[in-house]
């Protein structure tokens, strides 16, 4: 890396700048819109200069949305809480179920293991609609419709295969000898799992968990179909700003900003896990 030419460094810089602009511009634009009212957002042509207002955030946090058609009650904070609760719990359950399973697939080549692993993965790729609609019927019969438990179960469709397959790779990358050494030293398989496999695959588990969290957070259709309004996540909740008196772009923007914030905070906190953790070389180094 030392002997890269100046030209190359400049080109790299330009390329990186373009990338950052492309991916960040809409985010910045959304951020700016979140401090504007529809009046300034809907100007022709669009303008950069505006008088910022906190009205959108106030409306979201207090739950009172003022529109042409009067003051509406919105449950955005409730939606936000639902998103947090559903995503966190789903990922936690998926980790609880998926990590041991991933370990089993990685360490024990047992009869049918590849088939079972593949079946588990294939659920990730069953079109959501395919299972969702009959599932509604069954949930009704089981009394799981409109319960957090039912939702968390269905969210496993999103989280579990992702965790299973990413974490499995990490476990496989831990040299088996390291675990054998611990077993031979006199420890049970469970102690070995806990003291050796888990810590060594830890960064990978954290990273897979974060990705699963993002996908769970972004889900839209599961909660919509299976739960009543008080259990809806932000993705559905944000649509409430499409009202009969027009789309409240400012509030949607604020809602997006607020809905990104928890995930972003988590990602920043888990930064070194996310980038380093996904690199499977944790053990090799």
């Amino acid at each position: 890396m030392e002997h890269t030419s100046l030209l190359e460094r400049i080109l790299r810089g330009i390329a990186l700048t373009l990338v950052v602009i492309f991916f960040m511009f809409p985010i910045v634009w959304i951020f700016m819109m979140s401090f504007q009212t529809n009046e300034t957002i809907l100007r022709i042509p669009p303008q950069l200069v505006f008088k910022p207002t906190l009205a959108n955030y106030t409306a979201l946090i207090t739950g009172k949305l003022t529109t042409a058609a009067g003051t509406l009650d919105i449950a955005f904070m409730r939606n936000l809480w639902n998103s947090v609760f559903l995503s966190v719990t789903s990922v936690a359950v998926a980790l609880l179920l998926g990590v041991p399973a991933a370990y089993a697939f990685a360490r024990h080549k047992f009869r049918g293991s590849e088939d079972i692993a593949f079946t588990l993965l294939s659920f990730r790729f069953a079109p959501a609609l395919l299972v969702l609609l009959p599932l509604t019927l069954y949930f009704q019969k089981l009394g799981l419709a409109n319960t957090y438990i039912g939702l968390i179960w269905v969210y496993q469709l999103i989280c579990l295969p992702l965790i299973l397959w990413i974490v499995r790779g990490y476990f496989e990358d831990i040299p088996a000898d390291i675990e054998y050494a611990y077993r031979i030293a006199g420890h049970s398989w469970f102690a070995t799992f806990r003291k050796i496999a888990l810590p060594l695959a830890g960064p990978g588990i954290a990273a897979a968990g974060l990705l699963a969290f993002i996908f769970a957070w972004n889900n839209f259709v599961f909660a919509l179909v299976l739960a009543s309004a008080d259990k809806q996540p932000v993705t559905v909740g944000a649509l409430a700003f499409i009202t009969s008196s027009g789309i409240q772009y400012g509030q949607i923007s604020a809602a997006i900003v607020l809905s990104i914030t928890p995930t972003l905070a988590l990602a920043l906190y888990a930064q070194r896990y996310l980038v380093e953790g996904l690199s499977l070389g944790a053990v090799k180094g």
Partner: protein
């Protein structure tokens, strides 16, 4: 302390048989070296004993007790791995302490135990380091310390010197026998280095393709190799192998080398007229005067010192290349024409078709697994 026995053990991976009906007994306190090329099944055998993999057939006894179905943690063995297999997230101290923790020793006992073995292996100063910060030699000693610390009755050492530099290997080769003897443990030691095998083993088991080809003391293996392959593996420089067809004359059985008749001793009667290979250790050859009876004329091609020996490559009049070795400082010839003599008594004769040594008493029967 405990003896170790494998009885008719078979291990397969998919369609490949890695260990084929193998039986082996290691006496209490004995050091057995498993020697053989990679892929011979040595490591698999160790792991079967350790209990981290299961045999498809057969039984494993430690101290006379059937351990076949017992998990690794209950077998009471210590093991050092070729690639060390240190726990990367623990300090050297914690690494070494793991067997003691498993036996629920007290904190002070653990501390004393670790420090004791660390002192013995001269790694007391790096106990607080993580493996990443250790040199290869330190890693190797840490791994060894971890295997030794609990004073296990059975020690399994999987080529522990493979991944360390030559200097350290040399040092350890000197240290290890004393260390192992002090422990009094039953040791199974895997290596691909014949010198290591010779230096460490009470007995050596030569393995190839999942079977034990020969089992014996280092002396036996060297003097009476079961077949050409083993003869070639033991000895540096390697043994000279020449195609011959023994004949008989009045003096007995002889083979012709460059028109010279070299008479053999021993019961080689049955070999007359058969296609054979003669094995001549380089040190069994010596430079002699032209006048010496049965002196073979050769041309010296090259000469090189090897350890405390001098190895000379010579060519016979028929164009066959032969290595001759002599202790450094003894007279020899470094160029031109010369004559060599063969010590017929130490010559080994192998059947060319099977590669087995003729008259071998130590060949393991391939099928039954019993010593013939």
């Amino acid at each position: 302390m405990a003896s170790l026995e494998l009885r008719n053990v078979v291990k397969r991976y998919k369609s490949q048989t890695v260990l084929d009906n193998l039986s082996l007994t290691v006496a209490d306190g004995e050091t057995l070296v498993l020697f053989g090329p990679s892929g011979a099944g040595k490591t698999v055998l160790l792991r079967l004993v350790a209990g981290v993999i299961d045999p498809d057939e057969g039984k494993i006894f430690i101290g006379g007790e059937d351990m076949t179905d017992l998990d690794a943690e209950f077998r009471g063995v210590g093991m050092a791995f070729q690639n060390f297999a240190l726990f990367p997230h623990m300090t050297a101290f914690d690494n070494i302490a793991t067997p003691l923790e498993a036996s629920r020793s007290s904190q002070s006992a653990i501390k004393a135990g670790v420090q004791n073995v660390a002192k013995l292996l001269k790694i007391g100063h790096v106990l607080s380091h993580k493996p990443r910060a250790l040199s290869n030699g330190q890693k190797q000693r840490t791994a060894l310390a971890r295997a030794l610390v609990g004073s296990p009755p059975v020690l399994l050492l999987d080529d522990p010197l493979r991944n360390v530099d030559a200097k350290l290997r040399f040092e350890m080769r000197l240290e290890l026998p004393r260390l192992l003897a002090d422990r009094g443990a039953t040791v199974v030691y895997v290596t691909q280095d014949y010198k290591e095998a010779m230096a460490l083993g009470d007995r050596i088991a030569v393995m190839s393709q999942g079977v034990i080809k020969q089992l014996g003391t280092p002396e036996q293996i060297y003097r009476e190799p079961a077949n050409i392959e083993i003869a070639r593996l033991f000895g540096d420089p390697t043994i000279n192998l020449l195609d011959v067809k023994p004949s008989r004359d009045a003096k007995g059985i002889y083979v012709g080398l460059s028109n010279v008749q070299v008479h053999l001793t021993g019961a080689y009667d049955a070999t007359v007229g058969r296609d054979c290979v003669i094995g001549l250790r380089p040190e069994a050859l010596s430079f002699v005067d032209e006048s010496t009876p049965a002196a073979i004329p050769v041309t010296v091609e090259a000469e090189t010192p090897l350890n405390e020996k001098i190895v000379t490559l010579v060519r016979t009049v028929r164009g066959r290349e032969i290595l001759v070795s002599r202790p450094a400082g003894t007279p020899g010839q470094s160029e031109g024409r010369a004559h060599i003599a063969v010590d017929g008594k130490s010559a080994l004769l192998f059947d060319r078709a099977s590669g087995d040594r003729i008259g071998s008493k130590n060949v393991i029967n391939l099928r039954s697994g019993e010593a013939a």
